[in-house]
Structure formats: C-alpha cells, structure tokens
C-alpha cells in the first residue's frame, strides 16, 4: 500500500487475531479452565488456530479470485505470437486444465512444504523470488519507520503540548503534505534536487554499480551486509541510496503517527491527573513525557506497528521511481501478468507479516502497559 490509511482506528484487530487483554482474561475461565488447561496455553491454542484459519482463508480467497481474473497466464509465459498447440501444451503444463478444486488442493499441498510453485514471470521458485525481493523492502520500510516514528512521535507530542502555536501549525502542515503529496511526484522532485542538482545522494537503485560487484550478500539487507563486511565506503553508498526513498515513505508514516499521537495526547492532557500533577509542582515536560505519554503508549504503539505493516507491503510507486527492486513492484508485476503463483505467495507473506506484527504488538503491550499482563 502506497499510503498509510488514516481511517484505521488503533484498536482495530490486525489479521483477524484477537489482541486485547479482554480476550485473554475471558479465555482463562472458558473450557480451558474446566479441562484444567492453563489459561496461557488455551490462549496460545486459540491464537494459533485463528492464525491458521486466517492464512488459509487468505490463500483460498486469493487463489480463487486469481483464477477468476480475465488474465491469461499462458500468454504471460509464452507471449502473444504462439500457435494454439503450444498454448494448449503450456495450459496443461501449468495444470490449468484441472478442475479448480484440484488445482487448489495441489497448490495447498505445496504451500504446506513451503513450495509456492514457480513464478511464471521469472521462471524461478516463488519462495526464491520473495527471499530476494523482500529484504529490499524490509530494509527500506525499517529505515522509513525509524524516520517516521523518530520524528512523528515528538512532533505529535509537541504539537499537543503547544496546541495552536506555530510548532503545532508546522506539524499539521507537514502532516498534510505527508498525506496529500503523491509519493511518485515527491520521489522525482527529490531525485532532481538531491541527486541531479545537489549531488547529495546516490540516486536510484540500492547501491552504485561500482560497489555492487564487491558486495558480499549475507542477509540481503545491504546496510547490514556492508557493515558486517566492514565495507564502510559501500555502507555510505547504500545509505546515500536509501535515505531519500526512506524519507519520502517516512513522511507518510510521520504524518499518520504525528496526527494520531497529537490526538491521543490532547485527550490525555485534558485529564484531571495532569492538572493534579501540575498542581503538585511537577514540571510540564515531566508530566507529559513520564505520565501522559505512558498512558498513550499502547495506542501509539498500535499506530506505529500498523504503519510499519503497510510499509512492508511494499510501496509500488516509490519503488518504481527509485528503481528499488522490492516486494511491491514484484507483486504488481505478477498481478498484471496473471502470475497467480507469485500473487498468492506474496499475499500469504503479507498475511504472515500482519500476524507476526500483531503478535509482536501483543508482546510489547505487556511491556509498556502493566494492566495487560
């Protein structure tokens, strides 16, 4: 998804898995308690079952929708200029002559052993393609979310603290730009200014060609790989390539996070405990950062995790402008070519991302909010 949706409320369920503490507290007194199964075990079983059902539904839905799309995967493989005999042979080879249910069961059997089939557009196993393109997106999204969070939370808090001041106006204008300016346009303008005119950054791609041949790929995260190898010149080059697309994606995250943080914080600052703290002589900064902020931490965490999840889906337009070989472009190309093996594999990965982040979020709730323990 190119832009973070502002319509999502932080308390929404992610990936269909229950996240709030009420789910856990009620589960302990249900059948698990009668069968003398510990509450945490029953809760875990429920979470796993829910995850499996969610992922199964995702695969089934994507698979069947994919088969109903009027895209021809045979033409995607063989091109337009082929005889009907060659077409029919490939049609059979791809298993498209089988009943839909058989095709689905075959596919499902493969998925269980992590075989998502072969991508028609690249001729390689889908899992290999994903393993190659996903680190590029993960690295970009991680830097973007660090920028978005690092700037968005303080901006939101300051904006709430000094509501109506010039700093509030600036944060709101930046947020508006983050929401409304197309990333495609921002990307091109950013390249013209910082790459072509000022020469401050490394330009499109993940790394300059001169370093590409010496790069030792271990994790697929170029910042990490170059640092592990002690290739500091290459590390700086990678940083120069990632900083602009990450900043542009981070701007969208910043807009979302700062607005939500501002809104949560304004609500907190009107609470009586804030006035009490101030009356007792606590400094304004301490009141906000130590007391009020702790009360919005869970909500802010949810917003950050949601933003990160959307960034991980891949930002197609940003990846296109910056020639970034990422997940979003791979998925879009696969979809346009009717490469359903790749599409279903990617969809499943997105589902897993949401589930994993949801679980991670759940874990972090316990750390930041004692009431959820």
């Amino acid at each position: 998804m190119e832009r973070i949706s502002h319509l999502l409320h932080p308390s929404v369920e992610i990936g269909g898995v229950m996240t709030d503490s009420s789910a856990r507290s009620t589960s302990a007194s249900r059948p698990g308690a009668v069968l003398a199964v510990p509450g945490w075990a029953w809760s875990s079983v429920k979470a796993i079952l829910s995850t499996v059902i969610t992922l199964f539904g995702l695969v089934a839905l994507t698979f069947f929708i994919g088969r109903l799309l009027p895209l021809d995967p045979v033409v995607a493989v063989l091109g337009d200029n082929i005889s009907q005999a060659a077409y029919d042979a490939m049609y059979r080879q791809l298993g498209l002559d089988q009943p839909l249910l058989i095709q689905f069961l075959d596919y499902l059997r493969g998925v269980l052993v992590l075989d998502f089939g072969t991508a028609l557009t690249t001729g390689r196993p889908v899992i290999d393609d994903i393993t190659r393109v996903f680190p590029a997106t993960l690295e970009l999204a991680t830097v973007a979310i660090i920028i978005g969070t690092g700037l968005g939370i303080p901006a939101g808090v300051f904006s709430a603290m000094y509501r109506g001041s010039w700093i509030d106006h600036i944060v709101r204008v930046v947020g508006l730009v983050g929401y409304s300016a197309p990333n495609f346009w921002l990307g091109l303008m950013g390249l013209v200014l910082f790459y072509a005119t000022l020469g401050w950054i490394g330009g499109p791609g993940r790394i300059n060609m001169i370093h590409e041949f010496d790069l030792i790929r271990v994790t697929g995260f170029y910042l990490v790989d170059t640092a592990l190898a002690g290739q500091w010149v290459a590390f700086r080059n990678v940083f120069g390539h990632i900083i602009l697309p990450a900043s542009i994606l981070g701007l969208g995250a910043l807009a979302f996070i700062s607005r939500m943080t501002r809104s949560f914080m304004i609500e907190q600052l009107s609470q009586e405990y804030v006035i009490t703290a101030r009356v007792k002589g606590l400094s304004w900064a301490r009141t906000v950062w130590i007391h009020a902020f702790r009360n919005i931490a869970v909500q802010v965490l949810t917003v950050v995790v949601l933003s990160y999840a959307f960034l991980l889906e891949g930002a197609v337009l940003t990846e296109t402008v910056f020639a970034w070989p990422g997940f979003g472009r791979y998925l879009t190309n696969a979809l346009l070519a009717g490469d359903m093996n790749a599409v279903v594999g990617c969809t499943l990965l997105i589902g897993i991302i949401f589930v994993v982040l949801n679980l991670l979020c759940d874990l972090l709730y316990r750390i930041v909010d004692p009431r959820t323990r």
Partner: protein, 542 residues
C-alpha cells in the same frame, strides 16, 4: 495550556536540526562520483518482460536482443543494413541448383563456455529442438515446411563442420537466411550440457529459463529478475573478444529516472526514454539520441465477426478517422513514423514512405464511406487497448474524431495479458496493439497480417493476426503465396507493392505507426550499432 516562546522553540528544535545536518552531511559524503567502469557498458532498461533465456521460447524484444548477443546464429544481419546478410557461426554457404538445399559450412575449433566443442550436430540439434518444443520460435521453421516428423531429416549434420538444410519449396534463399538462419531459432546451443539437465523430455527448457548455454561473445553471468542483469565476455570465444568485457543492465522502469541516471553519468545508455525526455535531451552536449526504425507496427484491428466491421467501407472509413499527421507530430514524435502499409519501412518489398501512408484525417470521406455501408446514423463500438504508453492518447484522438461522424467509441484499457487473451480469442470488437515481425522482408507480415489459411473458429490459428480478425480472402491468400515463391526479385517487389495498395484499402487492420528503437547514449560510448533487428554490443567501445 502553556504557550511556547520563540527562544524555547528554537532550543527544542536545535537537537533535531543537528540530527538533520548530520544525516545530510553523511548522505552527501556517500554520493559517489558519476562514472561507469571503462570496460563496462551500463544500461538502464525496463527488463520486466524477461521470463526465460530459452531461444525456443522467448518472443519478446528485450530477451531477443540479449540472446542475439550471447548466442551466435548461423548468419547475421549486417549492422549497417538489415537486408544484407553476413557470416555468423556459418562462415560460408552453398545453395543447390533447385534452391531447395542450403549447405552451411561452420567454424571449426570453437568451444562452448562449458568447454564442450561446438559441432554441426549441436547446430542441427538446436534447430530441431525448436520445432519439437513447439513454442513461439517454432513458427519460424514450421512456416517453411519443417515439422516435428521431418525436421531430423530436413536439417542434418553431415559431418562435424557441415550442416544441410532441406526445404520443401524453392523459397527465396535470402528470405530463408533472414527468417531462419539469422533468427534466434538457429542459436547454437550446447546440446551435451543442456541434455544433462533435461527434465521430463523438456529439452532443457527449464534449465535455460535462467541461464544461457551457447556459443557467443557474451554469456549470462547474473539475472536478478526486476533488478539487474550482467553479461560477461566469453574468454574462449572463437571470434574477436569484445572491447567491452561486461554489459550491466539495471532494471529501471520509469523513463524520468532513466533520464536522471543518464544525465548524471551513472548509466551509459537509457533505453526507455519518453517523448519529453527525448526532446529535452536532443540539445544535450553529453548525450546523443540514437534512433532506428524497428519492424514493429502499431495498429487498430477490427473483428470481422462483428457485422459492422465486416463491411470493407467501414474499415476504410476508420482509417480516415486517424490523425496520422497530428499524432505523428505530438504523441508519436520520436517514437514512430506514420505508416499504413503492412510492410515495414526498410523491408524488402516495402512501399516508400509516401506511398505506404496515403491516408489523412478526412471526416467527410469517412461519412461518405459509412453512408455507402448503410451506417448514416453511425454506431457504437468498443476499442480495447493495453499498457503501451501511446495507446491511450491515440485511442482518445480517434474517439474524438469518430464522435464527429456519429460513431461512439467506448475505450477500455487493460493489462496486456488480458488484451492478448481477448484478441486471440476473437472476444473483442476492435483493439489497438503492436505487432513485430522478425523478418526484413514483405513476406514476414504478409504471412501473418494478410494470410489466413483457415478462418474457422475450430482452426484456432491464433498466431495469425488475420485469423484473430476473422479476415479471410482467398484471392489475397493466393497472392501472398505467389509473391513468396516468385524467383525474380523485381517482379516479387511489384507483387508486394500491389498487395500493399489493396490491403491498405480492405485489410482487417488500420495500421497507424511504425515504431522506432530510441536510446539516449552518452558521448563516451563510441560505435553504438543497431538496426531494427539487433543491437551489436560487440561493436561498442568507450
């Protein structure tokens, strides 16, 4: 609620400012100098379409160019004139008196990158394999009488250095050289290595999906789909070693990004520049715009199963709705030239530029023709088109002109895979798309855009655009066959000229433009050589 003083605000912002400055300085320090390595040609190119490196299967232009530079064919298109043939892996050839047997004399002592020696058997096997697999390239051979049953007999290695090709009819030798011997179908493959990796009788098709195994100046050393591709010069190549030992293709799909990379010197060549970029770069002191006509035609095809388009007058009227001149000067400026003939400029037998495009926007003439066909009130029809950037503006221009003669055209844009599926299945009323031939001879397109051996739906001759349009004309079929086998070159040209004039009036498609190959090339690159049929990396230098 406290308010913030300017001083306090500045104090709070100081930390952020320091951080931003540090990041900017670090990023600035990381910007590398813009120069490509002296022994490497670096290109920015949209290489999304690559899905295999098997010459028997690949049918799209990007892969074909790469295969032509990694795999020697029997003969070569001459760089300066694609109509001329020069030796390739065959250094010489003889033709029998009856014109039905060609004997190719092959290079000796050559080896594949695997170390296996290159034998005539490899050449024969490579050609036979194309027919047996039956993918897109098979039509190159089956069109001239080769079948899975006879190909072992018709293409034979008589010894280690000699290959004999037998033909079922006395086709013009030049045509066979263009259509088969210079085509990627005759790429010389390493049969021993490939058969070691055969799976389920696939002749190594899966093995060649991601690699090359042939004799040629370069070999594929890396392909990361949607990211980059590298060709390395072959040390053991029989011919001259290329000046540029490495070809690096970076996948860049956005034309604006390609232009920035080119201007900054981070790439030597940009292959997908848009009309605006080309116009801006035309006055550049560091970049030269290279342009050559390619054998690709962009046309508006009509389905004759639709009774309105079955009227020749209606199809002719549609031609008068196309603003060839206006579009040529705007949307298609630097991308293509107006062309109405089915034979591309530069091909043997082609009408010249003026005679091959006699139409102009003429709404009055269109109205008359529609009235002759009984459509004085006009009609409504659908036009489908794909993702080629110029399709939409051309379709919109035609739509606007059509509305003035009472024809309502509904435009529908779709993914190319969907477009091709609809057109192949005759599930459309009219469509705009491109077609590219692999032969610099009038027969290349006559055999597909005019000729239709069997118009029945059951025949499923989906590789014939004429069949896709449900266009069948027995007389035109006979004239295509006659021109094909005509031995006298002048008379052959005359037959094709007459055929083009007639088909421009009655044919199933309004051909609109012939496309250019266009590239922005930095001045450091010398001897960038190409024609409509191939690009010669071996000739380029820095």
């Amino acid at each position: 609620m406290p308010t913030m003083t300017l001083k306090a605000s500045l104090r709070n912002a100081r930390g952020l400012r320091r951080g931003a400055t540090a990041i900017a300085l670090f990023a600035a320090a990381s910007a590398a100098s813009a120069a490509t390595p002296p022994n490497t040609l670096v290109m920015a190119w949209n290489i999304d379409a690559i899905s295999t490196f098997d010459p028997a299967q690949s049918g799209e232009v990007v892969t074909n160019e790469l295969i032509q530079n990694t795999c020697d064919a029997l003969v070569n298109f001459a760089p300066e004139d694609e109509r001329k043939i020069q030796p390739g892996f065959a250094h010489d050839w003889d033709v029998s008196e009856d014109g039905r047997e060609i004997t190719f004399h092959l290079r000796t002592g050559a080896t594949f990158p695997s170390g296996n020696p290159v034998m005539a058997h490899d050449v024969a096997w490579s050609l036979q394999r194309v027919v047996h697999l039956g993918f897109g390239a098979a039509a190159t051979l089956t069109e001239y009488g080769f079948t899975s049953d006879n190909v072992e007999e018709m293409i034979e290695a008589v010894d280690d250095e000699t290959l004999v090709m037998r033909l079922d009819k006395p086709y013009p030798v030049n045509l066979i050289m263009h259509a088969i011997a210079a085509n990627q179908a005759s790429s010389v493959l390493d049969s021993q290595l490939i058969m070691e990796h055969e799976e389920d009788g696939d002749y190594g098709n899966r093995y060649l999906t991601t690699r090359t195994a042939c004799v040629g100046p370069y070999r594929l050393s890396r392909w990361d789909a949607g990211e980059a591709l590298i060709l390395e010069a072959n040390d053991e190549y029989w011919g001259d070693r290329p000046t540029l030992s490495r070809i690096f293709v970076r996948h860049v799909s956005e034309p604006g990004t390609q232009r920035l990379l080119l201007e900054q010197g981070d790439v030597d060549v940009a292959r997908d520049l848009g009309p605006d970029d080309l116009a801006d770069l035309s006055g550049s002191s560091t970049v030269t715009i290279e342009q050559t006509l390619r054998p690709q035609l962009f046309f508006w095809i009509f389905n004759l199963e639709d009774e309105r388009f079955a009227h020749p007058e209606v199809r002719l009227a549609m031609r008068y709705l196309i603003d060839y001149e206006g579009l040529g000067d705007s949307v298609m400026n630097a991308l293509g030239v107006p062309r109405a003939s089915f034979v591309q400029l530069g091909a043997i037998g082609a009408l010249d530029e003026d005679e091959g495009q006699p139409f102009s926007l003429d709404l009055e003439r269109a109205r008359e023709l529609l009235a002759e066909a009984g459509f004085t009130e006009g009609f409504q029809a659908n036009v489908i088109y794909g993702t080629l950037p110029h399709s939409a503006p051309i379709a919109q221009s035609v739509q606007q002109n059509a509305s003035q003669v009472g024809i309502r055209l509904d435009l529908e844009r779709m993914a190319n895979a969907q477009l091709f599926a609809r057109v192949r299945g005759r599930e459309y009323q009219s469509a705009m798309l491109a077609w590219q031939t692999s032969v610099p001879d009038a027969h290349g397109n006559a055999s597909r855009l005019v000729y239709n051996p069997d118009n029945s739906a059951e025949a499923q001759l989906t590789q014939y655009p004429a069949w896709r349009a449900a266009f069948y004309d027995e007389e035109l079929n006979a004239r295509v066959e006659e021109a094909l086998l005509e031995a006298d070159p002048d008379h052959r040209d005359q037959l094709y000229a007459e055929l083009q004039r007639d088909v421009m009036e009655t044919g199933p498609m309004a051909i609109m433009f012939q496309m250019y190959n266009v590239a922005g090339v930095r001045n450091e690159i010398q001897d960038w050589s190409w024609n409509g049929f191939r690009t010669y990396y071996t000739l380029a230098s820095k």
